[in-house]
């Protein structure tokens, strides 16, 4: 692996690591890591640093939905223009072009069921190129971004062993 990929592999799991420590672990200088990070941010290889939150444990109400959307691609622009119209809504979390039974997978976060339903019926379904939608509500998140949310891991090893 090249240095860039090594940095990315590490910070994908822990973006809060101290740069000094990261440099030590990768066997390089802090400046090298800092420069690579800056360059990768500039090149939009690193698109953001986010926090994985289990909202269930907070007092905030959140409703998450996965919406399967079938659309008519537009001449010359394919799926891009309809995708753009969808992803510009701030309540939309993610938009993926999908192979298989439908075209776009849209993930959505709302405060209430009604809010999500309204978005789908008022905004998404009414777009010209949208043929149909199918809304799936997320009931429970077991694992997200490679992290198991349901059951945090405890160290079961003995304190000392030879």
């Amino acid at each position: 692996m090249e240095m860039r990929e090594k940095i990315l592999t590490f910070i994908e799991k822990n973006s809060r690591v101290d740069l000094k420590d990261l440099a030590v672990m990768l066997g390089t200088e802090e400046a090298v890591v800092a420069n690579e990070l800056a360059a990768m941010e500039e090149e939009h290889i690193i698109c953001g640093y986010h926090t994985l939150i289990d909202w269930e444990k907070t007092s905030m109400e959140k409703v998450n939905a996965l919406i399967e959307v079938r659309v008519t691609p537009q001449r010359g622009r394919g799926f891009d223009s309809v995708a753009e119209r969808v992803y510009n809504y701030p309540e939309v979390n993610a938009v993926y072009l999908i192979s298989g039974g439908y075209d776009l997978l849209v993930t959505l976060e709302g405060k209430t069921l009604r809010e999500v339903a309204q978005f789908v019926s008022d905004k998404l379904s009414t777009l010209d190129s949208v043929l149909s939608t199918k809304t799936n509500f997320i009931l429970k998140k077991y694992k997200d971004h490679g992290t198991i949310i349901a059951k945090p891991k405890e160290d079961e090893r003995m304190l000392v062993s030879l």
Partner: protein
């Protein structure tokens, strides 16, 4: 009533870590660097195969030497990774961890009075296993100035007419030392000249950090295969300690006798573990690579922290241990470790648990997350600073 106990067994001491375990178990907020096993869970695809084998009802004994399917995969693996070839049916035995293989090899090869050369610091079972097999353990004290590698001269100096066996415990627990090709070539010459045999405990073979120069087994050197019992296993490479699965490879004449003991004492290694291990050795290379990469990062971090603390520590290139020197504080390893546990609640293992020549050293395991290492080493740093203020030595 007569004494029910064998005086030979009574004469063998328990390993030296019970005390730390007992003290630590009574404390809260203890952070440990004292563990000799990986922190990763066994990769899921391997666990899944174990579960699947149970679902399929594979719950009977396997043949004494182990599942044929597993042995064939191990043979391919050893060829692919280390360039040694063993016949899966005649030269290989699946054991209950590498530990059983050590015991079997000693018992199969030693006659009363035969001397066994055991380089130390090293894993705690070689000396008692040699003694239990009626052999005479002879310790070779390895030196930090040689990066705790065994030199041909040290070996030569320890040989007597009674010497039969040499234990090669590399990559080494507790020092993290490795033996490279040239080091082994020098040893091989002496072994050949004195007609010795070797037990090569290579349980940490997958965990070396020398870039392209990956682990070399002495069995791959000319003339050594017929003199070597090669021991390896799944515990460290695949994070499978609790599955208790290892293996031994040796020339047929030796292996046959080992198999006899195994047959009477053990029957066969756990069947579920063997099924899981087939998956490990067949499809586990990427897991091993990922874990090795992770350990290597932690290794660099730990060594850097010791340098920053001004603590002398040679750079270890194997296993997941560092072995810093604490002589400057004028405390024994045991005193240092006990006080650090009491005052900073950090568990480490005194070097003396691995032989008296470990005096003045500590075994630090880096089979922990970066956060745990950081916290533990911060505490260790405080402890050292306090010692330096109170008793400035040299």
């Amino acid at each position: 009533m007569r004494n029910p106990l064998s005086s030979r067994i009574v004469g063998i001491p328990f390993s030296g870590i019970r005390k730390f375990f007992d003290i630590a178990a009574e404390m809260t907020d203890v952070i440990s660097l004292g563990v000799g096993e990986p922190d990763f869970d066994t990769p899921w695809h391997i666990r899944d195969e174990g579960i699947y084998s149970l679902e399929q009802g594979h719950t009977a004994y396997t043949s004494n030497a182990g599942l044929k399917e597993l042995k064939i995969e191990i043979a391919k693996y050893l060829e692919r990774r280390f360039g040694v070839s063993y016949h899966y049916d005649k030269e290989m035995l699946v054991t209950v961890g590498g530990s059983e293989a050590i015991d079997l090899a000693m018992r199969a090869m030693l006659d009363p009075g035969d001397e066994v050369l055991i380089p130390q610091p090293s894993y705690v079972s070689y000396v008692p296993c040699a003694a239990l097999a009626d052999g005479v353990p002879v310790v070779i004290s390895l030196k930090e100035e040689n990066q705790f590698r065994l030199t041909a001269q040290e070996l030569e100096d320890a040989i007597t007419p009674k010497t039969k066996l040499l234990v090669l415990p590399f990559p080494n627990n507790p020092t993290g030392a490795v033996m490279e090709q040239e080091d082994l070539e020098a040893i091989a010459k002496v072994v050949e000249a004195h007609d010795l045999f070797i037990i090569s405990d290579e349980i940490y073979a997958e965990l070396t950090y020398l870039g392209d120069r990956s682990h070399v087994t002495i069995a791959s050197l000319p003339g050594m295969r017929e003199r070597t019992v090669l021991i390896n296993g799944f515990s460290k490479a695949y994070s499978m300690t609790g599955w208790r699965l290892g293996y031994a490879c040796a020339p047929e004449a030796i292996l046959e006798q080992m198999l006899k003991i195994h047959q009477y004492a053990i029957m066969c290694a756990p069947t579920t573990s063997q099924h899981a291990a087939v998956e490990a050795v067949r499809n586990g290379d990427r897991d091993v690579e990922g874990m090795r990469e992770e350990y290597n990062g932690r290794r660099r971090y730990v060594i850097k922290r010791f340098r920053d603390m001004g603590l002398q520590c040679f750079e270890p290139f194997g296993a997941f241990y560092a072995f810093p020197c604490i002589r400057e504080f004028g405390l024994t390893s045991d005193e240092f470790a006990t006080r650090m546990l009491q005052e900073e609640k950090v568990v480490v293992v005194p070097g003396t648990a691995f032989g008296s020549c470990g005096e003045g050293f500590l075994r630090i395991s880096y089979a922990y997350s970066l956060e745990s290492l950081k916290e533990a080493l911060d505490r260790m740093e405080h402890f050292i600073q306090r010692l330096r203020v109170k008793s400035p030595m040299g």
